[in-house]
Symmetry: C2
Subunit: 228 residues, 2 copies
Amino acid sequence: MMNSLEEKSLPQKISEDIISLILEENLQPGDKLPNETILSERLNAGRSSVREAMKLLASRNIVTIRQGSGTYIASSPGMVEDPLGFTFIGNKQKLIHDLLEVRFLLEPSIAAMAATNAEEKDIKKITALCDEVEVLLNNHEDHTHKDIEFHAAIALSSKNVVVPRLIPVINSSIPLFVESTGNTLHKETIETHREIADAIAAHDPLRAQDAMYLHLVYNRKRIHLAMK
Amino acid sequence: MMNSLEEKSLPQKISEDIISLILEENLQPGDKLPNETILSERLNAGRSSVREAMKLLASRNIVTIRQGSGTYIASSPGMVEDPLGFTFIGNKQKLIHDLLEVRFLLEPSIAAMAATNAEEKDIKKITALCDEVEVLLNNHEDHTHKDIEFHAAIALSSKNVVVPRLIPVINSSIPLFVESTGNTLHKETIETHREIADAIAAHDPLRAQDAMYLHLVYNRKRIHLAMK
């Protein structure tokens, strides 16, 4: 991970102090941070160093700097774009294959957990997203964004706190899947998404798990065909 | 993820141009980037903006800036410390429980994949780390760092390109596990680690998978005891 042997710069050290402060004060997404003057006094640091530290925190998506308004805790603090660095995996076919392998390990069990733990509001959200993806597919419009949201809503319903942070990262691959299957999985996507949503709504873990397996199997078959 | 609705600053845009350049030129970890003068010409940007962009890339661990020497591709480009923002999950007991739940989904299958795909050099590495953890445990020294390396070596042997990026993130929790089990799992850790290493060396996927399950079961039992 981060090379801890390298010397930390002053702004890096101050950014860590600010993280400690966020945790101590239990600041939540959307909360405003104290202004630069207050922070530089509390942390015993120069204002320009505090400003540099804030830029580092913004680049890690821990805070959001709104010009003229102030600095706020980000909506999913610490979740950066492409956190596992998939951009830097050169072989995209291998990446697609291996991401799908990881989805097989995670998503069927997560669907089962969602069927067990989903509350009424979760089920409404999952069903609504299932409807939206179906409409987009039928209209031959881009459904990838809503597809990712559908799987993220299931992850959230599992009530495991790690899973909702993990699944959007793994499913950042959905656009790659859609592209590599030539966008030909309309009928199968609609049917298996519906079966997953219905099984979760019926609180039937095994049915949800099997529906998710079927969904992934269709994807793997098409991807293998496309890669030949 | 990153809020794409917010305006990107000039250094952010330039940092994306530099990422494109890294990908186009297929620069690998340890490779040196062109210097500031060359980059500012190629990207048609001011040198101070290029410098700001490099700081952003360094904070995302894509490049490493070595004072007086130059800027290099980081060893695991794009892998930042705590990429899923676990720091910001307040309830650490729930986090420990849920991370272990995710380890149950991933690690037994990964151990099986490693048993199938490990090469001789992988097996040597896994066995050596298994030995090192055993020595540290017997000497009552801190084994957490080597324990994480042991599981990371297994992930690497799976030959799935996503898994080695995922497992160290999930296993960043090992120090929390060790702490919450009161560091009492010496005998079980030694025995199950050895069984995992031997099964991978014997290229026996099912035995490796079962050994990993047993390892995780011991952990879950102790954690539940400790949480009571």
